[in-house]
Amino acid sequence: MGSNSISKMAARHLRILSGCNGALLSVRFFSDSTLAQEPIASTAIDSASVSPSINTAENHSQLNNNKKHSAPSSLKHAELAKFSAIADTWWDSEGPYKPLHALNPTRLAFIRSTLCRHFRKDPYSARPFEGLNIVDVGCGGGILSEPLARMGATVTGIDAVEKNIKIARLHADLDPETSTIEYCCTTAEKLVEEQRKFDAVIASEVIEHVADPAEFCKSLSALTVSEGATVISTINRSMRAYATAIIAAEHILHWLPKGTHQWSSFLTPEELVLILQRASIDVKEMAGFVYNPLTGRWSLSDDISVNFIAFGTKNS
């Protein structure tokens, strides 16, 4: 499986060299679906605070070119459509996103401890991230962004699905502490083009849905300031993960809709470390999430065989 995905990556690299816009290729399938819903102009001029250096007509034609060359992405389309369909249930903690809500405190505990240590913040403070700019890539309905904002960070949440951003904005505006979050329907690559930089870049449960993980990591790295932090959480491509995250979670327990994850898109920790290294990010810490079926709670552990989270710092 490993060699297969690397050869796929190689094939895409070749296509990149043959004249397409490499940065946009990696998020090709995201922008395909958004093109279907919105006029391209609106998605380009989304973050109003950024320098308007994007030429929309140019992007439009290049994206159209990419469509013709692209590998079949019908599965990705269907996946995005699935996310769109259940977008209204993001904040229903008993709904389809229940596992993510249950996992949230655990991944936040890891993020809090690694970021506090890295940025030398007081771990006993109620708002340790005061003064930090954090971007939540693939923020969905804002489940991760809102707690980060409550911890004092200046949060920007981005997602490729328009509906998710709308939900996130509505929910965040209910609480003054989270109404300061900036939500944009855009992609990491577009933010890179806008030359945005953040102290910490977090992409949690996203990279397994991306077409080109290596390019994605390069974009995440470009968004991080030097000596900044990058946190990625995903699912391991192991037999145990197949049994747990796909068979048990999707088919038996129905925690996730069928087809949410593709086992072949999972990354092993070694692969993730490697592609992050190539993107000038040193992985410093890694932990696993373990679910206890008796108590119904997730906890951090050293077991990275199913869900794992990695914290890395950008080399200067």
Partner: protein, 515 residues
Amino acid sequence: MNRIIVGRLSVNVSGLRVLQRSFCSSVAEKASSSNSGQPSSESEVKQSFTNNDDQYDVAVVGGGMVGMALACSLASMPLTKHLSVAIIDSNPALGKSNFIKKEDPPDPRVSTVTPATISFFKEIGAWQYVQQHRHAYFDKMQVWDYTGLGYTKYNARDVNKEILGCVVENKVLHSSLLSCMQNTEFRKTIYPSRLTSMALLPSSSSISVDSTPSATTLFTKGHLAKLDLSDGKSLYAKLVVGADGGKSRVRELAGFKTTGWSYSQNAIICTVEHNKENYCAWQRFLPAGPIALLPIGDNFSNIVWTMNPKDASDCKSMNEDDFVKILNHALDYGYGPHPKSISSGSVDMFSWFRGDATLSAKECFEVPPRVVKLASERMVFPLSLKHANNYVSKRVVLIGDAAHTVHPLAGQGVNLGFGDASTLSRIIAEGIAVGADIGEVSLLKKYEAERKPANIVMMAVLDGFQKAYSVDFGPLNILRAAAFHGAQYISPLKRNIISYASGEQRLPLPLPLFT
């Protein structure tokens, strides 16, 4: 989707422009207009939120011992001491710092605090204030019944501790918690009135994208609970804590159902005086209910005597000397003989059970000290068992007697409440550490999952005791006697009992799965 528009808000008209800016997708045609007015309007909107004086993080309804313990606990932890707390209680004593004079006779309303509660008080910094007033540690306890067939003596040294508990007047506990809180920079506001109604403004768990909310509804306090007070004021809070006792209004307003029954017993309490000091707690089970004698200090003791309602009102109205006589009768030879102590020479069949024998196993039966005179008025309370089926719902949580009331026979009631307060404040701190909304049900359910089983088990044990001791039936009496003997001589059992009653152990049996 309906949103309630709360009228008393100051909404900035320029806030509308900020709202439109934040919807990235619809900004295309407004891009030019939004670029102009942004920075100032955003800061204005932020200001309108911080000017609200009636908005709190936590509203504690009920400023009694358990409610104040929660507030103190929040004040003492670094993660929670920045929270703003409103305490709603019409008791005027809360407003001023009350000085308890040393010469005051002991109040009959006392509580026995377990070692676990004492460590909780030490953690929050309130125990130093308790020590400045009258309080009595006791390290011995004797339990027996009227049949005279058996007795059990407990000693703190059986579990290598110095004390079994401490008896403190409720007013001392309460004022210690008040003093503790006043000496911190905790942002608390006391509302001297009663809660009349409570409303949860509709939340967003079912937001649908297609609705187009108006600007005002988005700036409403859609994420808060609104509390209306009897003096006309209103306040908003992220979390409402019901600490308002057995007849909790919060529990009623939030619609929590309860299970329970009233015992056909009343408890009569009073303070009495002896000629000598007493460091032991005594409890004798009589046919109508147990009588307990607890040392308060300075030769005073507290009496809690459970009996049927008619006798209780007779006891209350009879003159003092007669009452003292029947008290001594009940503690001594009334209703039945003294149990026989095992003398050291005789063969006892439990010798092979004993193993590591406890100190108190060898102790003889003692008669409690004589009551010389009555030192306070007599008060009567009805007894019942009540348990709320749920402790939490969105933005509401119950602690203390609002969640559970128990029989006083083991002095556990308020200790369960302090356990609730301690657990809830810890859960709130854990929630804040990961940036959670403290009113979220998923966070509050963690508190319920921890406290409910422990409370239910304790209630079941106490209820079991109450029922077992209220029946005078030959074989049952023998069983009870066997239980007394077992607890007296089987050391591991005794240690288990002491450790459970002291609050050191959460459940009566060591169940590794659930602790």
